[in-house]
């Protein structure tokens, strides 16, 4: 325990001292802040421009062959009606009018024509907007308010669904167990590279012999894995705090969905299964990344395998619709129980609620056994490959060669 704690402290402390750790940690919220900032200021600018456009007064005339324009409304906008289209165009050309709108007799087959004085690329939109608003409001004035609301999709709906006779909101139900899937992706994406290269450092720095004659290889590997988990959690907190602040401060101005966290349904069984699947999936992939790293002589060579491992993590996403709509299909069953693809379908199906208890327990068993095998293999690879400073170690050589196998 003493050495495990020492390795753990050493790995955590030195990583926390690295600038790259904090740059990675804060790069994500900074980028998100920039994106939200752009959306926020863009929304604000658009809103302001819209208000300015609305308040801008410009002189215009119109010809209405469609018989749809409300003359009272047009008068309120100080618009004058012309009977001759060519006269309207001529007045715009002569600078007597700022704009002229021509509404043809059949607006469904012919275009509404807008003629206007150029006021710049963006400001020219005000003419079309006014012509459009005049037609819409004139039409709205002729039909009942309810009809308008229906056509404009302004009717609110409240859906209540039941499962086993109890009210059940599928979307809200998936949020809590679904967080484990999100967490898994974040951790692997952010720390996968570090896991892959965590064991190559000892080899590249030629410190491996001193380490192996001082502590157990198992202690070193477990210490490193524990430190990576803690560092990942620290980084998640570093990411989440600014995001939560942004959400709380500016959420209403960013048109973000408003989720009532206080009334979020929490299904203890699904959350427990999600936590179990997440933990074992994380250990399995950590073991796999560490094993690949241990077999490689350098971090550079190990990094080349990162993409291959990511295929197993992101590949199943292509079957995401099947996981939801056809959970009993053969493909979904295979992907759910094949160890390297199992994490995504199992966690996703648990989140959407189509993973039975039996399937969950089988999945947990598969992941657990695989994680143990892969972690043991990683430790063996690390010990066996310790002195292979310049060449890759093949898994087969672990079982074929016996003469220079380490005995610890």
């Amino acid at each position: 325990m003493h050495n495990l704690h020492t390795v753990f402290s050493f790995e955590v402390t030195r990583t926390l001292k690295k600038k790259s750790f904090w740059i990675t940690a804060f790069a994500f919220p900074v980028v998100i802040s920039l994106v939200f900032g752009i959306i926020f200021f863009s929304n604000q600018a658009t809103e302001q421009a819209s208000v300015e456009t609305k308040n801008q007064k410009f002189s215009f005339a119109y010809t209405d062959e469609s018989q749809r324009i409300n003359t009272q409304l047009a008068s309120q906008l100080h618009a004058t009606m012309l009977s001759n289209k060519q006269a309207g165009i001529s007045q715009v050309k002569a600078g007597i009018l700022d704009a002229y709108f021509y509404y043809p007799s059949d607006i469904t087959t012919h275009k509404v024509e807008v003629y206007a004085k150029d006021v710049g690329l963006f400001d020219n939109n005000r003419y079309k907007a006014t012509a459009e608003a005049l037609l819409q409001q004139s039409t709205v004035a002729t039909i009942p308010q309810e009809t308008t609301a229906i056509l404009q999709n302004k009717i609110s709906y409240a859906a209540t669904t039941y499962k086993d006779g109890v009210e059940y909101d599928g979307f809200k139900q998936l949020i809590a167990p679904g967080l484990f899937l999100v967490l898994f992706y974040i951790l692997i994406s952010m720390f996968g590279g570090q896991m892959l290269t965590s064991t190559t450092e000892e080899k590249e720095n030629r410190v491996i012999e001193m380490i192996l004659t001082t502590i157990q290889a198992r202690t070193l590997i477990i210490g490193k894995i524990l430190s990576l988990i803690v560092l990942a959690l620290i980084q998640i907190v570093a990411i989440m705090i600014p995001l939560i602040i942004i959400y709380l401060q500016f959420g209403d101005r960013l048109s973000l969905p408003n989720i009532d966290l206080a009334n979020l349904p929490l299904d203890p069984l699904r959350i427990a299964i999600g936590a179990g699947l997440f933990t074992l999936s994380f250990l399995l992939f950590t073991g796999l990344l560490v094993a690949v790293g241990a077999a490689m002589p350098t971090a550079k060579e190990a990094s080349g395998f990162f993409g291959v491992i990511m295929v197993f993590i992101f590949g199943p996403l292509y079957a995401i619709s099947l996981f939801v709509s056809a959970p009993q299909s053969q493909l979904v069953t295979f992907l759910s129980y094949f160890p390297l693809t199992a994490p995504i379908p199992l966690m996703l199906r648990n989140a959407v609620g189509n993973l039975s208890i039996t399937e969950a327990l089988t999945g947990i068993g598969v992941l657990g056994v695989s994680a143990i095998i892969i972690l043991s293999l990683a430790i063996r690879l690390f010990r066996y490959g310790a002195l292979e400073y310049s060449k890759r170690l093949s898994v087969s050589s672990l079982f074929v060669t016996k003469n220079n196998t380490p005995r610890r």
């Binding site: 003493h2 050495n3 020492t6 390795v7 050493f10 030195r14 450092e201 720095n205 030629r206 410190v207 012999e209 001193m210 192996l212 004659t213 001082t214 502590i215 157990q216 310790a386 002195l387 400073y389 060669t401 016996k402 003469n403 220079n404 196998t405 380490p406 005995r407 610890r408």
Partner: protein
């Protein structure tokens, strides 16, 4: 071959890598408190013996014992090992690395820091305590590695070509440090090509050739066997006709 006062016992040790036999049949022992020289030409298997003794390699046959037991990191002996392949965590500071190894060797953090400061003062590197290792010269890094090796007063000190890369000043410093550990009662295994160092430090030696012991005993005894020749001459007479291999 085993003696009650032996700290290290090696009996009929054989080591094969695939079809290649590096050590065919080797037996010797090292007594508690003695300084023992493990000599041989490049590729004669010196480092292989050490790695097998420390459990890094599994022997093809025979037994290699420390305190009558196969060595593991849990063995009840304080070990200091300076491997031939050297290196430390290069991106870390001197003090961080020394403290880390001190802690792994069972020292408290405070004791490790105090010991490190004292050692750095002695080897003239006190001002480099907070410097990253990759910012130090090769010789300075060697001193740090030696410091890490002798932390926590090892009972068994195994030095695989310790003077490799040292200038004469640092070599003398190293010799002094080894002698201090000798005086403190440590058993020292010394792997080297430097006959001058062997004559100065070693009580007994073994010369490896073709995977077995070509000569074994006290320096005086071996010299007598070779009609009073110097160790250099003995070395040349044993290995002079061999092509030099690069790896152990």
């Amino acid at each position: 071959m085993s003696h009650s006062d032996a700290l290290v016992t090696i009996n009929h040790f054989r080591m094969e890598f695939g079809n290649q036999t590096v050590i065919s049949d080797l037996s010797f022992d090292i007594k508690k408190g003695e300084t023992f020289g493990l000599l041989g030409a490049n590729g004669s298997g010196k480092t292989t013996v050490i790695r097998a003794l420390l459990g890094i390699y599994q022997p093809s046959a025979g037994e290699l014992l420390i305190n009558n037991k196969t060595y593991t990191v849990d063995s009840d002996i304080k070990l200091g090992y300076l491997p031939e392949e050297r290196g430390l965590y290069k991106k870390e500071t001197v003090m961080t690395v020394m403290t880390y190894f001190g802690r792994l060797k069972g020292m408290t953090k405070k004791a490790a820091v105090l010991w490190s400061l004292e050692y750095l003062e002695r080897v003239g590197l006190a001002h480099k305590a907070t410097t990253r290792l990759d910012k130090l010269s090769g010789g300075q890094q060697q001193k740090i590695q030696l410091g890490v090796t002798i932390m926590n007063n090892p009972e068994l000190l195994i030095l695989d070509e310790p003077t490799k890369g040292f200038d004469p000043v640092n070599r003398r410093l190293l010799m002094n440090i080894i002698e201090e550990h000798q005086r403190a009662g440590a058993t020292v295994i010394f792997v080297t090509h430097q006959m001058e160092e062997v004559e100065r430090l070693c009580d007994r030696i073994i010369l490896l050739k073709d995977g077995t012991a070509s000569a074994y005993g006290t320096i005086d005894h071996i010299k007598e066997t070779y009609a009073g020749a110097s160790l250099d001459d003995i070395f040349v007479s044993i290995y002079g006709d061999e092509p030099k291999a690069e790896e152990e």
